[in-house]
């Protein structure tokens, strides 16, 4: 399967909205649900993931001809883990409060399926420039999704935005939104709204295969028919 020819702007924009990693592909859900209880935490998590994704895509794309095919997944994980360790130390040094709030979830960026998925489906097959564009786009899409989740949850759950109170004293915060169930509800409702929107446009909601296999499937172009692979070689509906 030869990769479909894409323009640079497509490589960049695809990840931001049409194939948004969280809202469309449902990748990287653990951090998207766990740390989005405030806008500040969401942004820190988004930026840390952006950094790790960009760094790993750059390195994987540079090293692609030296990494043997049989051990490539382990090699990608090692590269990702290196950048995560760097991000962890940087956050601890620059914003200790947020570092404490995010806790173990910074280390868990390593097993974010989205990052490994982009390495396997894109960075390992494309030139450095395109791999970087794709990483910027996908990383930005992740930040956008986390920002939306964080905004909904902080505004409803705490009545504030970035710590600034929005409503008067009469507002009773919906505590549940900053607790774990609120994460599930927020993402569920966002997905329902998007599905409704897609349906209104009379475009069929495209099938969403569960993409967990992205991390281990070995055939070229990602798992057959799954959204992660769709970015590389499937015709698009637009």
């Amino acid at each position: 399967m030869s990769p479909r020819v894409t323009t640079p702007s497509e490589d960049f924009l695809r990840g931001v909205w049409r194939e948004n990693p969280v809202l469309v592909q449902l990748l990287g859900l653990c951090p998207a649900l766990a740390v989005t209880n405030t806008v500040a935490n969401s942004l820190a998590m988004g930026i840390a993931t952006f950094f790790v994704l960009t760094g790993s895509s750059l390195l994987v794309s540079l090293l692609k001809s030296w990494i043997p095919k049989e051990v490539r997944i382990s090699a990608y994980i090692l590269i990702i883990a290196t950048f995560v360790t760097m991000a962890d130390m940087l956050l601890a040094a620059l914003v200790p409060d947020i570092h404490k709030a995010l806790g173990a979830f910074i280390a868990l960026i390593v097993v974010n399926c989205m990052i490994l998925g982009r390495q396997e489906a894109f960075a390992s097959k494309r030139p450095v420039g395109r791999a970087l564009l794709d990483a910027f786009g996908t990383g930005l899409g992740f930040i956008v999704a986390l920002f939306m989740m964080g905004t909904v949850r902080e505004v409803l759950g705490n009545g504030s935005f970035l710590g600034v109170p929005l409503f008067g004293d009469a507002f009773e915060p919906w505590i549940i939104m900053i607790l774990p169930p609120g994460g599930f509800f927020t993402l569920g409702l966002l997905l329902l709204v998007f599905a409704w929107w897609e349906e209104r446009k009379d475009v069929p909601v495209h099938p969403r295969h569960w993409p967990h296999g992205v991390t281990v499937t070995v055939d070229a172009g990602g798992p057959g028919g799954s959204p992660a692979g769709a970015g590389v070689n499937a015709p698009r509906s637009d």
């Binding site: 994980i77 130390m89 097993v111 549940i176 607790l179 967990h212 281990v216």
Partner: protein, 191 residues
């Protein structure tokens, strides 16, 4: 003994890995369509969690005291290789069990619950025995959440759901409701 029991129940119900800490969401949403598969997935997870916990205790006690900054990298590498070895061993010793677990066994390596367990165990300073109970509790919690979710989804399959909700949105809202129910366990311990 009381302490160990506390760790077990806390990991299983109060801080349920999937519904409260959001770890291991991929299998939770991915293979929770049928009860049978969900229970097998849970069992496979318990198995890998226990191995991971023992390995992490060993690494923490003997290797990582000298180089703590290598923790993340060594955890992920050791866990991945260990699961690979276990997979080969099972394939050789019991082909039936191997077929039962199927693709789930290798997939578990990249499940954030596994790495999460190793990291939480380290952060809380658990020893080998405490870690073992923590892993058992976490595994039991995962299995519980998976089979509950699968039972609900089997019912949803049979009901008349609006077309808009026939994707992950509905599943997530259901998960939220389950999570809400699990919040009730927070009052189980007062200490």
């Amino acid at each position: 003994m009381g302490e160990l029991l506390w760790i077990f129940v806390s990991a299983m119900l109060v801080n349920n890995f999937t519904l409260v800490l959001f770890l291991g969401l991929c299998p939770f949403l991915g293979v929770s369509a049928k009860v049978g598969t969900a229970v097998r997935m849970g069992a496979a997870n318990v198995f890998v969690l226990v191995i991971t916990s023992l390995t992490a205790s060993f690494l923490n006690a003997f290797v990582l005291v000298h180089a703590p900054y290598l923790r993340l990298i060594s955890f992920i590498v050791v866990i991945a290789s260990l699961v690979q070895i276990v997979e080969m061993a099972i394939k050789k010793l019991s082909p039936t069990l191997f077929r039962e677990l199927g693709i789930f066994l290798p997939l578990i390596t990249t499940n954030c619950a596994i790495l999460g367990l190793a990291i939480f165990q380290t952060n809380r300073g658990y020893g080998a025995l405490e870690g073992l109970f923590f892993a058992l509790g976490a595994g039991a919690g995962l299995t519980l959440a998976l089979s509950l979710m699968a039972s609900i989804r089997e019912r949803v399959e049979l009901s008349d759901v609006p077309a808009v909700a026939r994707n992950m949105g509905l599943v997530l809202v259901l998960a939220g409701t389950l999570s809400l129910a699990f919040m009730g366990f927070a009052g189980l311990f007062t200490s």
